[in-house]
């Protein structure tokens, strides 16, 4: 009996590792493809081999990206836009989330519900009217245009995340501070906000990533190649008549590495932030 259970346990373990390994390979495969393409020398870009590493691997594509293309410029554009969206997201969401978590006021439930409803908007529902508004305001081909649209997309989620987190901090903390004579603002700013640091980090990252890797909005608003953000630049390597796979691979890797690292470091938080608001209690 004991031998049998031991054997079935070994079979079960083997099965687990085998299946997990297969899925890891599937998960990594496209990323390895990108790495592989980015390292190919010019004459092997259309190679039909599936080697682990290309022959005569070279960093030429990376060098080319920075010396012959506007890549650095696009990177700067993306960084600027993402930073602006992040600051907007964090400032407004940290304040509004606190208000929603701690106080009762007219239109509170309506407000929260409508924030949730925005998650069901198809992308075009906001993009199209905003696009027409931006045309009328002369904000097409400006950074301000994309910053406005991205903030609008990111803010509802950020407010929900912040509210959900503040809800987990006991209000007795502020009450104690208030009894000691602290002002309402002081209690919020000096006591609660530092405690909500994890949620602030998530909010910041979420806003940053929204802006850093967005393509479809930017494609309509930023039409001049000098104003492009990174995803537009990436697409331009792919869109031209002869796809520049080498450049595409190198650029993709540079764009994704910071995001992937940040994401992995915070994926646990991200999920608790996502589910906290919806499945509390």
């Amino acid at each position: 009996m004991a031998v049998q259970t031991k054997r079935s346990k070994i079979i079960q373990q083997t099965f687990t590792y085998a299946v997990l390994t297969v899925f890891v390979v599937i998960a990594i495969f496209p990323i390895w493809q990108v790495v592989n393409i980015s390292l190919r020398p010019g004459d092997q870009l259309l190679s039909t081999s599936l080697e682990l590493m290309p022959k005569n691997a070279t960093f030429d594509n990376y060098v080319k990206l920075f010396t012959e293309r506007d890549f650095l410029r696009w990177m700067g554009n993306s960084a600027f836009v993402s930073l602006a969206v992040t600051i907007t997201g964090v400032v407004f969401a940290s304040m509004a989330g606190y208000g929603f978590s701690r106080f009762k006021f007219f239109g509170k439930n309506m407000g929260l519900l409508s924030l949730l409803t925005t998650q069901m908007f198809p992308a075009t529902m906001l993009l199209l009217p905003m696009y027409i508004m931006l045309i009328n305001l002369g904000l097409i081909n400006t950074y301000l245009g994309v910053i406005i649209v991205y903030s609008a997309t990111a803010l509802p989620f950020c407010i929900w995340t912040m509210k959900g987190y503040y809800d987990t901090i006991p209000p007795t903390l502020e009450e104690a501070a208030r009894i000691d004579g602290a002002s309402q603002f002081y209690a919020f700013y000096k006591i609660i906000l530092p405690l909500a640091a994890p949620a602030l980090v998530i909010t910041a990252l979420f806003s940053f990533m929204t802006a850093w890797s967005e393509y479809l909005v930017a494609a309509q608003i930023l039409q001049e190649s000098l104003l492009w953000t990174l995803p537009l630049g990436l697409k331009s390597f792919e869109a031209s008549m002869s796809t520049e796979w080498g450049l595409y691979g190198a650029a993709s890797l540079i764009v994704m590495i910071p995001v992937v690292i940040l994401f992995l470091a915070l994926s646990k938080w991200l999920v608790s932030g996502l589910t906290l608001g919806s499945v509390k209690g």
């Binding site: 687990t16 590792y17 997990l20 899925f23 890891v24 599937i26 990594i28 495969f29 496209p30 990323i31 493809q33 990108v34 039909t48 081999s49 599936l50 509004a96 606190y98 208000g99 929603f100 409508s114 924030l115 409803t117 069901m120 908007f121 198809p122 992308a123 075009t124 529902m125 906001l126 993009l127 199209l128 009217p129 905003m130 696009y131 027409i132 508004m133 045309i135 406005i148 903030s151 609008a152 803010l155 509802p156 309402q184 890797s213 393509y215 479809l216 995803p231 697409k235 796809t243 796979w245 595409y248 764009v255 994704m256 995001v259 992995l264 994926s267 999920v271 589910t275 919806s278 499945v279």
Partner: protein, 295 residues
């Protein structure tokens, strides 16, 4: 008391003003547009024409056909979410055992979710290339099968989009399910084991019912995201190729708005999509009695 009111105003008002300007106003503007006749030539002198855009959507033939696209969107959503949830829960169950290198496996399996969607889409589009894409290379060189015209025929192009999206979506469900699994007390399984319950029995009576409350909101969210996922379909099929046969509703609207500049038509269609999703979410959440938890 009045001081309190001032403080609330200070906290909430800025966000509300911003949201009013960039969410509520555009929303109302979209509703207004849906009843009008705006296109690129009539940006400033458009006027209301009642329900004509909606009549056009539901009755006039379009290329591609609205009902065909709608059906495709439902297939797209159901197939994707089914795979996301099944694979996600399955992998979470595997990861929730005592195994070596658990966190490494977990991290690597989350990767597809971490990569920016536009890169995922463009990379997969490359992998579906007929001559040089790795899918056809694997099919022809290692499996001895004929190459597939992934991006040139409608069914295969749609399948390519689904494959891409399944790959990118399972980690979310996996992480959510893993979180839920870890919160199930061990004693339950020990008790079940003493009672002689089999693994399958435990799965049905303990595991699945207990992760349900967490999974239902996640599935709702996942379904809404998938239904609205413009990035993957648009970029993998390169704007609906071949000849507008690879569309789901959102990509169809995006094309109507930004390639054909039929602004009012697109606005009306956006509104239809939104209402479909709203009704779906309300019914789904109510059915699973999770609505009260949403507050």
């Amino acid at each position: 008391m009045s001081k309190n009111k001032f403080f609330i105003t200070f906290l909430v008002l800025p966000a509300f003003v911003l949201l009013a300007a960039v969410v509520f106003y555009p929303f109302l503007y979209n509703v207004a547009l849906a009843f009008g006749n705006m296109n690129l030539n009539k940006i400033r002198d458009w006027h209301f024409i009642g329900l004509r855009q909606f009549v056009k959507i539901f009755t006039e033939p379009s290329q591609p056909d609205f009902y065909a696209v709608f059906l495709k969107t439902i297939i797209w959503t159901v197939v994707n979410v089914t795979f996301h949830v099944t694979l996600g829960v399955f992998l979470a169950l595997l990861l929730n055992q005592q195994i070596k290198g658990k966190s490494i496996y977990r991290t690597l399996l989350v990767l597809p979710w971490a990569i920016p969607q536009c890169i995922v889409a463009l990379t997969w589009r490359g992998m579906f290339n007929y001559e040089y894409g790795s899918f056809n290379l694997i099919l022809t060189k290692y499996l001895g099968l004929p190459a597939v015209e992934w991006l040139r025929s409608p069914t295969e192009a749609f399948l390519a989009c689904i494959l891409t999206n399944v790959w990118l979506g399972f980690p979310f469900m996996m992480v959510v399910a893993l979180g839920a699994l870890q919160s199930i007390p061990h004693e339950l399984y020990e008790a079940a084991e003493i009672d002689g319950a089999t693994w399958g029995h435990q799965l049905r009576t303990i595991t699945l019912p207990l992760i349900r409350p967490v999974m239902i909101p996640a599935i709702t969210l996942g379904a809404v995201w998938t239904f609205n996922n413009l990035n993957i379909v648009w970029l993998v099929s390169n704007a609906g190729e071949p000849s507008d046969n690879t569309h789901i509703l959102v990509s169809f609207v995006y094309k109507a708005a930004f390639n054909f500049y039929s602004f009012s038509y697109a606005a009306a269609l956006s509104l239809v999509i939104f209402l479909i999703l709203l009704v779906f979410s309300l019914i789904f959440m109510k059915q699973s009695r999770a609505t009260e938890a949403a507050y």
